[in-house]
Symmetry: C2
Subunit: 341 residues, 2 copies
């Protein structure tokens, strides 16, 4: 039985929701990770300091004493210099959503004209506030991310000093673009390293693997795995763990989102640690993907925490519940090969 | 308000299932159609005369006195001359499934080597028994049909006198191949003329639109609509109406199949009848797609029946049920623009 120790693991794309759902899911991330970048798309998106600080306090309450830093984000809108200077020290990034593209994103951006975005983005660039982007158009579901690459290129070239993070990339196209520009970075989820559209809709339809961006082709998954496991400094882990109540997944009109918080580290271990001969390099690259790359990209000083994983079967819970909610994780009821000890 | 009269409408690809499900669904097809080609993939597939005749009797009971001809099919396996001669007059076609490709297809064909298929197919060719094919490989879900085109071409060229029906085609590729060989024909469903993968998984996930083959891209749908509405003699309507209990659709691991029997004619009317100027041609092409092409391809003499459709809103039932089953149709609860009167 082999043990792998991860220092300060970070989840740089995390949905914790609010209220009773927050209370249910936050401890899973807070136990396994040293910190996480908390997404701002609550049912009322976080667009000012008061909402941000209030949400941060609710998150801190919900993590239940665990040593975990919630890196807060603001929902992208047009913001002026005064506003951004005032909130700068309380946020780690600003998250941009195209309008209506995913859960709670109605108030997002509907016009990607650079002139429209320039006033806010140039101030963010000056103040060194990173921009996180959900990069999808409203086109055909399998093409949405690839169609967004032009916008990424325009953003990267027009704002060369702005650090731009391509969130939850899912395509071979995105793995190329992220390496083409110095100021582009990317997060990759655990599930996009493991599944394709075949897992969602190839045999039976699996609502618990339905997410946005939707899982793509085998060649896309392979390109993502190659990039993530290579230790490349441009990519980092962001789970996009996104809980929905089970009854809103197993229904007509199921919401997009995969809940991976309790199993993400174990799955990544299984993916990265492949053979005896290169064990040290694989472990180093896992450490980079799970922590050091994010530390460098965002300039973070995460709380000290080490997580030990063991090559030992782990049966994933069928569901997790509190008095208000029941949620079904990815691979619920299945056995995976690594455990947190 | 405009009326359209269809003579002897035929559904040349129909799943009626068995027992209580058969009793629930058969009357919908039997009311709207003059006849239907009944698929043989029951939980125990129909592979001999006794099973066939017994199932036909159950179907005739279930149609509840409606003037409707069930055109029976046999599940493709290796059959010898004696067997085929004996059953020839009781069947309209033999349906070939690749093994494991869809509901109840485990006993299908796993080796598409022409030498393996030759003994049975050459007898079918001699006896003029049409071959219906579910044309999908076990490849990536969006490519399965296109990857099967080589097999269709091999079948068409090796058995030039065998009439081969490409069932429920969903791709632009298939619309080309069907026109390339004299002995290839195709059925097209109502839902594949109306939806793309965006409707299944582009916004929320819709289990009631999940089917095999899965709905494809916009350019595929457009090619199908163009072919179907043109009056082309190579294509005919086959609903592939395939009921599953609602609880097996709205769950984790939803089965493939769209239940369209009660609304297929209305939907096709809405699709074909588009503008005043070409009304006669549109009506003729609808008649061809819904009946005359199938009559010519299969050499059928369907029972006399005319169905009158009126351009008048029709609210689709949310579900249909008997004491055993509840099933949810396509567009359940929505309003469509044509009604059967």
């Amino acid at each position: 039985m082999r043990d792998i120790i991860i220092n300060q693991p970070l989840d740089m794309h995390l949905h914790l929701r609010d209220n009773d759902m927050l209370k249910l899911v936050a401890p899973f991330s807070a136990k396994s990770f040293s910190g996480g970048l908390i997404m701002p798309n609550l049912s009322t998106p976080i667009t000012n300091k008061q909402m941000l600080m209030s949400y941060k306090n609710r998150v801190l309450e919900a993590i239940d004493g665990n040593n975990f830093e919630p890196y807060m984000t603001l929902f992208y809108q047009n913001y002026d210099t005064k506003f951004l200077k005032d909130i700068q020290n309380d946020i780690t990034a600003i998250k941009l959503y195209p309008a209506g593209i995913t859960t709670n994103s109605k108030q997002g951006v509907s016009n990607f004209d650079i002139k429209e975005l320039e006033p806010t983005l140039s101030v963010m660039s000056e103040l060194d506030i990173p921009l996180c982007v959900h990069g999808e158009t409203d086109g055909f579901v399998m093409d949405r991310e690839s169609q967004f690459m032009d916008i990424y290129e325009q953003l990267a070239t027009n704002f060369p000093k702005l650090n731009i993070i391509m969130e939850h990339i899912t395509t071979k196209d995105a793995t190329k673009i992220v390496q083409k520009y110095d100021n582009l970075y990317a997060t990759i989820t655990a599930h996009h390293l493991l599944i394709t559209l075949d897992d969602v809709a190839g045999g039976f339809l699996d609502p618990h693997l339905f997410c946005k961006p939707i899982a793509k082709r085998y060649e896309d998954k392979e390109a993502l795995v190659k990039l993530a496991t290579s230790g490349n400094k441009k990519v980092m882990f962001g789970s996009d763990s996104a809980p929905h109540p089970t009854h809103k997944k197993e229904c007509c009109g199921c919401a997009a989102g995969v809940f991976t918080a309790p199993i993400a580290l174990q799955l990544l271990c299984e993916l990265f640690i492949k053979d005896e001969q290169n064990i040290n390099l694989q472990e180093q690259n896992l450490q980079k993907f799970l922590s050091s790359n994010a530390v460098d990209i965002y300039g973070l000083t995460p709380p000290n925490k080490t997580i030990t994983l063991r090559e030992k079967n782990y049966k994933v819970a069928v569901d997790y519940k509190n008095t208000t909610h029941t949620i079904t994780p990815m691979y619920g009821g299945k056995t995976i090969k690594w455990s947190i000890i």
